[in-house]
């Protein structure tokens, strides 16, 4: 067995949340607002439902194959060659999507905080810590996240609390000024984020109770939807029309706070839990990539893979994009269909094959 550790349902929920929250809160408000304007909050509700639907596919698949990852059962479902190809696709995709995240985080840091530091420094430091955590295994990752997520939530709570006095109700009106189309358009780039629950395709067998995958995903998606909703309310209510001009509206919210109590500007402090969360997010993805690669090549130990993958990750994140504009453009326009196909499409196809071929454990077994 590659991974000896097991995580509880709660830790799985936490891990999913942390593997989505840091980037979704940072990037989504701007993307959604650009499409949906003051109705962005409606987009969030819409996208939460999409997240639930995507989670349902992954959850059903997990119920059929509670002891295997997608790399393992895809071989069983579509044969060793096609299955192996799917495994390779996922091993690569986790790396690819992760290099997005690494670059996003690094770009955010250079743009907002450390103008003069070369981006490669952030990438190396992040990858180093990420590999360090992954080598300790899933259990340690779960434990690390047990504190990191509450920290992010506390920070987010404090931010929203401080910002409440400056909310302006009129920013939300008129509702549905241009009909439903902008709402859908705004929600489109968010779909990728809310389908990131697909990490459970790799993590299910390592849950203490693998059968709980479906409720785990549902809980995580609902929680995320709620948080995203709150944040988008705060963003629209405070920055209103200017949201479209801010690249990272939540950071701008932080800059707008001037708590006369004790600090002049809180945004560097807001940044701290953020870096933590971002790193844990990258770690979850890196773990999945490493595990997928190790299973693909039927290795007994993933320690070395973690390091090799880490190096690949760092290099990819540096060479794939020229600058932040290209990065944002890709996230918002180009990638959603492809990403969604891998995140939800392939699992859906596999699920259909499993149902038709009566593969895996039957739905009603054991009840």
């Amino acid at each position: 067995m590659l991974e000896e550790g097991r995580i509880s349902d709660r830790q799985a929920v936490y891990l999913i949340i942390t593997s989505i929250l840091p980037t979704s809160i940072l990037f989504l408000p701007h993307m959604i607002y650009k499409g949906a304007r003051q109705d962005a909050w409606l987009s969030v509700i819409l996208i939460t439902f999409f997240g639930l639907a995507a989670g349902e596919v992954i959850g059903r698949l997990a119920r059929r194959f509670p002891a295997q990852t997608i790399v393992e059962y895809s071989r069983e479902l579509v044969g060793p060659y096609l299955g192996g190809a799917i495994g390779l696709l996922y091993a690569g995709f986790f790396l690819y999507i992760n290099s997005f995240v690494v670059r996003e985080l690094a770009e955010m840091l250079t743009t907002n905080f450390y103008e003069e530091t070369p981006i490669v420094v952030f990438v190396i430091a992040t990858v180093f810590v990420v590999v360090y955590i992954v080598r300790h295994g899933l259990e340690v990752l779960g434990r690390v996240n047990d504190i990191v997520l509450p920290l992010i939530l506390a920070m987010l709570g404090a931010l929203v609390l401080f910002i409440i006095p400056t909310l302006k109700a009129q920013n939300f009106f008129p509702v549905l000024e241009n009909g439903v189309a902008p709402v859908v358009r705004g929600g489109f780039p968010a779909a990728v984020f809310f389908a990131e629950t697909f990490v459970m395709l790799m993590l299910t067998p390592y849950l203490a109770r693998p059968d709980e995958t479906r409720p785990v995903i549902a809980k995580a998606v609902l929680f995320l939807g709620g948080l995203q909703f709150l944040v988008i309310l705060a963003v629209i209510g405070v920055t209103g029309e200017l949201t479209a001009n801010f690249l990272f509206p939540v950071l701008d919210l932080a800059r707008l706070i001037r708590p006369s109590l004790f600090l002049t500007n809180v945004d560097p402090l807001i940044l701290m839990p953020w870096i933590l969360g971002g790193t844990v997010k990258i770690t979850v993805f890196h773990y999945c990539a490493t595990l997928a690669a190790a299973q693909l090549f039927r290795l007994r130990n993933y320690g070395v893979v973690a390091v090799i993958n880490g190096i690949i990750l760092g290099v990819l994140s540096l060479i794939l994009w020229e600058d932040v504009v290209e990065l944002a453009e890709q996230i918002a326009r180009v990638i959603p269909p492809y990403f969604l196909f891998i995140q939800v499409g392939i699992p859906l196809v596999l699920l259909v094959i499993a149902v038709i071929g009566r593969k895996g454990r039957q739905e009603n077994a054991g009840q």
């Binding site: 509880s8 709660r10 830790q11 840091l109 905080f113 450390y114 530091t117 420094v121 952030f122 430091a125 992040t126 810590v129 360090y132 955590i133 300790h136 259990e139 340690v140 779960g142 434990r143 690390v144 047990d146 504190i147 990191v148 004790f262 600090l263 002049t264 500007n265 809180v266 945004d267 560097p268 402090l269 940044l271 701290m272 870096i275 933590l276 790193t279």
Partner: protein, 540 residues
């Protein structure tokens, strides 16, 4: 691997001193002469002297006992200073000289004198027969009295140990305002009795081990059967009996040779000088290790949260305890990250500091010749040095040196423009804050400087990465199978009522499940005090 295990198991099942004094000596080619006593006193004495030598502290008293004219020659052996001589005279020599002749006269015939001595004569509380030379040698070395009788191939061993040892005093490190003030001494027997007096239940088990090739130190592993996991106690015994070292002079030796993470900065074995603390931990399902000659008992598993707890938390009412625990946690975190945060904020993100404070810091930094990082490291080292000097100096001078030294050097440095006042204040605060939680002494300096270095290079990002690195390391630790950070991570929220705060005692119904699953409840279900029925009328 399996060979080592067999050896350990073999040791477990042999009676007497398991890690053989005898075998060791044989291994080293030492000669013990004939292992069993002969029926001749002179030969026996010679055999014993050949092992022990005729050191100045070996007292041999020659006696002639029995009803005249059949006087038997006998020899009394003991180590000087380890026997209570008053009791020896009263309970041993006197009966041997006065009562033995009478007893022997009452029972003529060929009698086993040793048997008579053991059963009818000697008034000392403990007396037993010994037949082998090594047994006698080790008894003498441990402070027993040995009586050899001519023409008998046996000896009588009686324990009349009475060496000087410290009285039970209040520990100097773990002082409490409320609660038991007694502390362990260097005497294992006293320590065990202190524990027995606290837990009067047959479940309290002591497993005795002798560790150290030369020191043959008595080590006792204590646990409460039915409360502690059997597997945990076995694991501790296994690890302790696996130790092969020439001498164990303090429980610190044991601690360093059985810990889970020997490279880690973080301690994974707890220690205390207070019997009430050991008792409390035993009741939580932990296992304790007591070492003869050391007033410090070890307890395992030791988890991170113990750092912010003191026994007094449970003796006083919950409100103050809870607030103090939160303060301890804040100070603990502050004393690790504050220097790094200071450097990161001032050098990279001064906008997060209140404006007027920035002006003040900037003013005090004007003219300081060192970069901020160097200044922080330098003054951190000076403070730690002064602190260490304060500990080593004679006590009345020590505190004066620390305080006055820090004050004078700090003030002088600021006035001379060598350091900024804010750095001196920060360093002093951090240094003092780390006194609040002494359990992590190893961590503070190293972690602090690591974070300062990272913060100096990468600002808040570096600081955060350093913290994540440290924290991951903490999460990856285990102490005797229990995750080090539990119940914080993996989070067990119901247990937090006794971690970050101290909930009222009657709410702490369950034992910490992550330590033991043996007996879930430690108190009755209705332990909450209730108001008495209001039937009584008010009286003036």
């Amino acid at each position: 691997m399996s060979g080592r295990l067999k050896k350990v198991i073999g040791r477990l099942f042999t009676k007497g001193p398991p890690s053989g004094y005898l075998q060791q000596s044989h291994d080293q080619g030492g000669s013990f002469g004939p292992p069993y006593l002969a029926a001749d006193l002179d030969k026996n004495l010679e055999a014993i002297f050949s092992v022990l030598g005729k050191g100045p502290d070996l007292i041999v008293r020659h006696l002639e006992v029995g009803p005249p004219p059949k006087l038997l020659r006998a020899a009394l052996l003991y180590a000087d200073g380890m026997v209570d001589t008053e009791l020896l005279g009263e309970l041993f020599i006197k009966p041997v000289l006065h009562d033995l002749p009478r007893k022997l006269a009452q029972r003529p015939g060929s009698l086993d004198v040793i048997d008579v001595l053991e059963k009818h004569v000697v008034a000392a509380p403990s007396a037993k027969k010994a037949k082998s030379v090594p047994e006698i040698v080790s008894s003498v070395l441990r402070g027993d009295v040995v009586l050899l009788v001519d023409s008998h191939a046996a000896a009588l061993v009686s324990s009349l140990r009475g060496f000087r040892s410290r009285n039970v005093e209040e520990p100097t490190l773990e002082t409490v305002i409320r609660g038991p003030k007694e502390g362990f001494t260097e005497n294992l027997r006293t320590n065990l009795s202190l524990l027995r007096r606290k837990i009067v239940h047959p479940g309290l088990c002591f497993t005795e081990l002798f560790i150290g090739r030369y020191s043959q130190t008595r080590v006792v592993v204590a646990h409460i059967a039915g409360v502690a996991e059997k597997s945990l106690a076995d694991e501790v015994i296994r690890r302790v009996s696996g130790i092969d070292i020439d001498g164990v002079l303090d429980s610190g030796y044991i601690e360093q040779l059985i810990e889970d993470a020997p490279y880690s900065l973080f301690p994974t074995i707890g220690n205390t000088e207070k019997p009430d603390v050991v008792a409390a931990r035993l009741l939580e399902g932990r296992v304790a290790v007591l070492v003869d000659g050391s007033p410090v008992a070890l307890t395992v598993p030791r988890l991170f949260y113990e750092t912010i707890q003191t026994p007094e938390d449970y003796y006083s009412r919950p409100y103050n305890s809870s607030i103090i625990r939160i303060i301890r946690l804040i100070f603990l975190i502050a004393s690790i990250i504050l220097p790094g945060l200071y450097v990161a904020l001032i050098n990279y993100d001064p906008e997060a500091i209140p404006q007027k404070l920035v002006f003040t810091i900037a003013a005090s930094r004007e003219g300081v010749p060192f970069p901020l990082v160097l200044e922080v490291v330098l003054f951190g080292l000076i403070f730690e040095g002064l602190r260490e000097a304060g500990v080593r100096l004679p006590r009345p001078v020590g505190s004066a040196v620390t305080i006055v030294g820090a004050l004078i050097i700090g003030t002088a440095a600021v006035e001379a423009g060598l350091a900024s006042s804010s750095t001196v204040i920060m360093t002093a605060f951090v240094g003092i804050a780390s006194f609040i939680t002494p359990g992590l002494t190893d961590v503070y300096i190293a972690a602090r400087f690591l974070l300062v270095a990272l913060a100096g290079v990468l600002g808040l990002f570096g600081l955060v990465m350093g913290m994540l690195f440290l924290y991951t390391h903490m999460c990856s630790l285990r102490s005797f199978g229990v995750p080090y950070m539990s119940p914080i991570a993996p989070s067990a929220y119901p247990q937090w009522k006794d971690i970050f705060v101290r909930a009222p005692l009657w709410l702490l119904k369950t034992r910490p499940f992550f330590i033991t699953k043996q007996s879930k409840y430690r108190m009755g279900q209705d332990s909450k005090p209730e108001r008495p029925p209001s039937g009584q009328k008010e009286r003036n």
